[in-house]
């Protein structure tokens, strides 16, 4: 008999009921109990090896110019300092740009953003390293920095060339349209503010190898970059991450520099080196969501139907390209949101500025494009004097339409979602009540908005749409699962484990999810683009199916039955022979297979079908499918202070057939609140010198519990995905963030009431009390003036 742990429920018991925790069940997060006890281990919690040192970078104090003197003597002399590392000390590649080159590990004679790392200091303690880093004597020859999108556009300062997407002939359609509208919106960026700041722990190994524990969404890229800076083959570098304390895109490319620096230091000193950014360093040193300056010209008819659109988007990329090309592209892909713009031209600029290089953040440019669509729709509604919801519904895509990048619209369930939500949340009745209330109350105004979300699922860089998984079945029936996806709180490990439990039809507690590590599953894609469960779920399913098919073949031979006589059921394998069922505990069956020399381990693989995109012609099918949903928000503003409160939000969201409704609802609620924060209280600001002025939790305000609407309802629209995704589910990570746009539209609606809904207020984001008050005052002076 094989060994069975006392913690394993006896198999006989498991036979009496369906397997627990399979896909579709409301299972708690696999680490929930460890989270609440504080025993879930993040990288800074790992026991430190003896001799561990701490690295901190020295930062530039200007945003643009040449370094004329870098005197590090006082840094060396500082207490506890073991080493000081500059660009010259990097043994291999010094450019750690993830896609495009340009991101130097340390500044090479010139500075391009305020806070740019100049060197690293390694000390016995973190505090000693922090104090030492401040001792550097640096002199600069300052140059005039470019600090805004407008400035970059004027000076033709770009990290990549502009890109255009077109459908039909926007220019002539605009000219011939009955009415023309134009407008612009400045959308500010957003700090990821994951609670666990960036951290890497590098431990030197044999043959110049390096083990790196890194809080990253992209272990394979960290592995590649560490290998490059050390000038060693990838096979000598292992990167592991069990979990992150939040990622939100901020640990897709931005985790790598600190891993590389830690690895260089560890390699030089042959001692373990930890590099943790404290909050203030994290905020200054890592990229954020891009600001966007968006402009439109629309041709519409008198009903408010869009006939033509000419749109210009300009992203605030910072000093290097990082992922900005794909981010601006995604803003362009989503500038139609749910609507048929008909003849369309969209141009996207990638502005180079002397600020930290902006990067991925949940939605990846999509939100900045999508909010502009909603801005346009509201503007049209005011221009034609209709309820914005009616204008939205009038302009929705229909099956058979095509987007401005040539992807056909199919399985378009959004009209049905909107109608359902509109009825469920009493939109019309509340609209009437609010209009009446606003007429009678001079100091408080309410606003209401119902806005849709349609978000394309797939990496737009096609080769990334692949994943691997590794499944081992042990002889006691327990299963070890590894896959290329990383866990940042989104519940990916839970969902993929549920897939495995489902495939073998065993209880979830038999499935152990292991830390993501590059030596188990190689060449992985980042856990990003909402693709985690789509890709890794499928890869894990594939691995299970390989093992299962071996087991079935074995059973056919061993028991003398046909494949159809073998089934996996209630933690057992059931062999039907001559009309009689033989139930073998899963553990007994796999042990039997093992004794008959059947491999119980398999690597699974998946690549997303159907997608193709030609960027030269800006056409194709970049997205496997769209995830959709709608949100309705109600707000109340104070017309004397601009302060406001979000009173109510109702969301109906499409996750296909949910892999885990509890986790999916958690993603939707969390995404909405994060999106609301982006558009309300979270204000990223740089001062006139290019210094981040919102560089701490004291000045950068993410929502707290009291900001959540008191009435907050989230429901799943349970239509199976028409595409062959894992159990016909849909991706859920990013799309719900854009439900926050409903709050911004509701604020604008409340402001518009001040001028009797005749004018569309300018309300750049975030809509802080200050911006709301300014918008109210603009409405008041319009009223007074005319």
């Amino acid at each position: 008999m094989t060994f069975t742990s006392s913690r394993v429920t006896p198999w006989a018991e498991r036979r009496q009921r369906p397997a627990k925790g399979k896909s579709g069940k409301e299972l708690a997060h696999e680490s929930a109990e460890k989270h609440v006890l504080g025993t879930a281990v993040y990288i800074d919690d790992m026991p430190e090896l003896a001799g561990t040192l701490h690295a901190v970078v020295g930062k530039s104090s200007i945003s643009c110019g040449l370094i004329t003197k870098l005197d590090l003597a006082a840094v060396w002399a500082s207490p506890g300092v073991v080493d000081v590392v500059t660009l010259d000390d990097v043994p291999g590649e010094t450019d750690i740009g993830p896609v495009y080159k340009g991101d130097l590990i340390f500044a090479d004679g010139r500075v391009d953003f305020h806070g740019q790392p100049l060197f690293a200091v390694v000390a016995e303690s973190f505090d000693q390293a922090k104090r030492a880093a401040l001792q550097a004597q640096v002199e600069y020859q300052q140059e005039e920095p470019i600090l805004s999108v407008e400035q970059a556009l004027q000076q033709n300062s770009f990290v990549n060339p502009a890109h255009t997407m077109q459908k039909g002939d926007a220019v002539s359609a605009l000219a011939s349209a009955p009415r023309q509208l134009h407008g612009q919106l400045y959308v500010r960026g957003q700090e990821q503010f994951y609670l666990e700041t960036q951290i890497s722990y590098a431990i030197p190994g044999e043959d110049d190898g390096m083990q790196v524990y890194c809080s990253t969404q992209h272990p394979s890229e960290v592995q590649k970059l560490v290998a490059e800076v050390l000038d060693i083959p990838l096979s000598l570098v292992t990167v592991e991450v069990r979990r992150m304390g939040g990622g939100f895109g901020g640990k897709e490319t931005q985790a790598a520099p600190w891993a590389c620096i830690a690895a260089v230091c560890a390699n030089r000193l042959q001692r373990p080196v930890k590099m943790r950014l404290d909050r203030q360093d994290d905020m200054v040193l890592t990229g954020k969501r891009h600001d966007f300056l968006n402009r439109y010209q629309l041709g519409i008819n008198d009903d408010g139907k869009i006939l033509a659109a000419d749109i210009e988007l300009a992203g605030f990329c910072g000093y290097t390209a990082d992922l900005s090309d794909a981010i601006v592209d995604r803003a362009m892909f989503h500038v139609d949101n749910a609507y048929n713009l008909h003849d369309t031209r969209v141009i996207g600029h990638r502005c180079r500025t002397n600020t930290v290089s902006n990067t991925a953040f949940r939605g990846f440019g999509g939100p900045q494009g999508m909010i502009f669509a909603e801005c346009m729709l509201d503007d049209i509604a005011r221009a034609v004097g209709k309820d914005p919801l009616d204008v939205r519904k009038l302009n929705l895509y229909q099956d058979g339409d095509s987007t401005h990048y040539g992807q056909p619209i199919e399985n378009y369930i959004l009209p049905e979602i909107i109608d359902t939500l509109e009825a469920d949340c009493d939109y019309r009745q509340r609209r009437a009540e609010i209009t009446e209330l606003n007429r009678t109350n001079p100091w408080k105004k309410r606003g209401l908005a119902l806005t849709p979300v349609r978000f394309g699922i797939s990496f737009t860089l096609q080769f990334l749409n692949q994943a691997g998984a590794l499944v081992h079945v042990y002889t006691d029936g327990s299963v070890h699962l590894s896959h290329g996806g990383t866990e940042m709180g989104q519940g990916l490990y839970t969902k993929v484990a549920q897939v495995v439990a489902n495939e073998f039809n065993i209880d979830i507690d038999m499935v152990r999810v292991a830390a993501t590590t590059t030596d188990k599953v190689p060449n992985t894609s980042p856990t990003a683009a909402s693709s985690g469960s789509d890709l890794n779920g499928k890869a894990a399913q594939n691995a299970c199916q390989i093992i299962k098919s071996r087991l079935v073949v074995f059973a056919e031979q061993h028991f003398g039955v046909n494949a159809s006589d073998v089934r996996f059921d209630n933690n057992h394998v059931v062999i039907t022979k001559d009309g009689a069922e033989q139930w073998l505990a899963f553990s007994d069956f796999v042990d039997l297979a093992y004794r008959n020399r059947i491999s119980l381990s398999a690597a699974g693989f998946y690549s997303t079908p159907k997608i193709h995109y030609d960027r030269d012609t800006a056409s194709g099918r970049p997205f496997f499918y769209y995830a959709m949903g709608a949100a309705c928000a109600e707000v109340e503003i104070d017309t004397l202070t601009g302060e406001y409160k979000v009173l109510r939000t109702d969301i109906l969201h499409d996750v296909g057939t949910s892999l885990n409704p509890a986790i999916d609802i958690g993603q939707i609620e969390g995404g909405f609140v994060q999106g609301m924060g982006w558009l309300t209280t979270e204000e990223l600001l740089w001062d006139g010198q290019g210094r981040l002025s919102s560089a701490s939790a004291a000045t950068y305000k993410i929502p707290t519990s009291v900001d959540v609407p008191e009435h907050f309802s989230v429901r799943l629209f349970g239509r199976p995905n028409a595409e062959e995704t894992i159990y016909h589910s849909k991706a859920v990570g990013e799309p719900p963030l854009m439900h926050g746009i409903a709050v911004w539209c509701a604020l604008r609606d409340a402001v518009a009431s001040v001028a009797d809904y005749k004018v569309s207020p300018q309300l750049d984001t975030p809509a802080t009390p200050e911006r709301v008050l300014n918008a109210v005052m603009a409405m008041q002076s319009l009223q007074a003036g005319g």
């Binding site: 504080g38 800074d44 922090k130 994951y194 609670l195 666990e196 939040g246 404290d278 302060e643 008050l773």
Partner: protein, 501 residues
């Protein structure tokens, strides 16, 4: 930094010249020496004790990932409150009971706060979770001590106001904080007292509590001891709640040579003073915390008490003191404008003896006060409002909870026979110091209590203040909203939304 070790059976580990602190962590007594006075609780727990269930999210008291419960033995048993371990000095744990998330539950036997969070799917990335657990557990502990009291949603928000979560959107956490009260309650005193109560010989409070690396920290317990120490160390860094001073250590990496903690000085933590008539004024010791003041002010100054709910977070209010808020001399402290409006008297004491100054004379400039080296703020006195007197307060910030004011607006009015006999508007965030709006006040005085008087007075705001533009607001918004608040104050007062006796 010293190595912590469990306390043996010795009753007193301290020998002359050796500074030792003792505290109880999750039921285990620990004593430790040679702790740097600048060491925070979080740093000690994580680095020295490897107590890694307490997380660092911001090291500035803003995110709550490091929230712990700190208990003090009283005649009612141990009374706990939450605080931010990241900015609180280790000295604060001396003779106190600490609880952390791994101490209050274990796998298979979770504390109700923990169980409810699991049941409600209240964790995603899990990094903020131990901090939420402690805020919730403290709420549960309070409920445990007041049987029958189930916290409502407002109390829950209040308890969670200092805990940031970036993943969940809070909805499941709020639900868990409601549902935990349906689970069997658990009095956490039993965990703290697992290894028994330890009593110690009184220490000599004029000796350093902590001493290491040539730096020292004193924790006097009486004004006499405080004065004796100030005579020796007139330039010592005085430390009350430390909610701002702590940032100098964790954000700027300053190391103070001599720190004198004043928040255990008995006289300064009192809320009444012999000989001071309590009928017409309130006497508040400088080290009364915001949390204590919420209760003390609730009856006579409900709008002031209400304002206190918006200062920092629950954790910060448990640490921060009224005196600290005044003496810190920040232009954006929330209580000084209120004390200006109320014409408070400040009691100062120290090596030069006792003196009193009106709050209007206390500030000399940005971060500058009349306090001399060797002096300390002892107490603040505020007159109670008569039937004809009104106090109207409003704080404007980007975020409702746990944010710093763009403008803090505090208006006192005395209205007799429909005429404003006296007006005192003071604002924070509008100048380098908290400041009275003298011209506006003059414009209001003697005028009818009518909207036109407020509208006319609002025109003087621009003469009283020349605010700056910064990360919190522009100068123009600050001026505009201050003018508008004058109007709002009138409308609210006419609908009786201010303090009046």
């Amino acid at each position: 930094m010293g190595v912590a070790k469990p306390l043996s059976n010795r009753r007193d580990g301290r020998q002359t010249g050796v500074s030792v602190i003792r505290f109880n962590l999750n039921g285990r007594w620990i004593e430790s020496s040679e702790i740097d006075p600048n060491c925070t609780i979080l740093k000690f727990l994580r680095t020295n004790l490897k107590q890694v269930d307490v997380k660092e999210g911001c090291a500035a008291g803003d995110c709550g990932a490091c929230t712990i419960m700190l208990g003090q033995m009283t005649e009612h048993g141990i009374e706990y409150q939450t605080l931010n371990a990241c900015i609180a000095l280790m000295a604060n744990v001396h003779d106190r009971y600490l609880l952390t998330s791994s101490g209050i539950g274990r796998a298979g036997k979770l504390h109700p706060a923990q169980q409810a969070l699991v049941d409600c799917h209240g964790s995603q990335c899990g990094f903020c979770t131990p901090g939420f657990v402690m805020s919730m557990a403290n709420l549960q502990q309070n409920a445990c001590k007041a049987p029958g009291h189930i916290p409502d949603v407002a109390e829950i928000h209040e308890a969670l106001s200092g805990n940031l979560c970036r993943c969940t959107g809070y909805r499941p956490i709020i639900e868990a904080a409601q549902r935990m009260h349906e689970l069997p309650q658990q009095n956490l005193e039993y965990i703290s007292l697992r290894s028994g109560v330890q009593s110690f010989d009184p220490r000599d409070a004029e000796q350093p509590l902590l001493e290491a690396n040539g730096r020292r920290l004193f924790m006097p317990e009486s004004e006499a001891q405080l004065k004796a120490l100030l005579a020796l160390y007139p330039h010592a860094r005085l430390w009350a709640g430390g909610t701002d001073a702590g940032l100098e250590i964790t954000q700027r990496f300053t190391q103070f040579d001599t720190i004198i903690c004043v928040n255990r000085v008995a006289e300064l933590t009192r809320c009444s003073e012999p000989g001071q008539d309590a009928d017409d004024q309130l006497w508040l010791g400088a080290c009364v915390t915001f949390s204590q003041a919420e209760k003390l002010l609730a009856e006579s100054f409900p709008s002031f008490a209400q304002l206190l709910h918006r200062i920092g977070s629950r954790q910060i209010r448990n640490m921060g003191t009224l005196g600290g808020n005044i003496a810190n001399a920040s232009p954006i402290g929330d209580t000084p404008p209120v004390f200006f409006a109320l014409d408070a008297i400040l009691e100062i004491d120290g090596i030069h003896g006792h003196r009193e100054v009106a709050i209007g004379d206390f500030y000399l400039g940005y971060k500058q006060t009349v306090l001399q080296p060797g002096e300390y703020l002892r107490a603040v006195r505020i007159p109670k409002l008569k039937a004809t007197e009104h106090l109207w307060l409003h704080k404007v910030s980007k975020r409702y909870d746990d944010d710093i004011s763009a403008v803090m607006f505090a208006l006192y009015l005395s209205v007799e026979g429909g005429v404003i006999s006296s007006a005192r508007l003071a604002c924070g965030g509008m100048a380098a110091t908290p400041k009275l709006a003298e011209k506006t006040n003059a414009a209001l005085s003697g005028k009818h209590f009518a909207v036109s008087s407020f509208e006319q007075a609002a025109a003087f705001i621009d003469q009283d203040y020349q605010p700056i533009s910064d990360v919190r607001a522009s100068d123009q918004y600050r001026l505009q909203v201050t003018r508008n608040l004058l109007i709002k104050a009138f409308h609210d007062m006419t609908t009786a939304q201010g303090d009046a006796a």
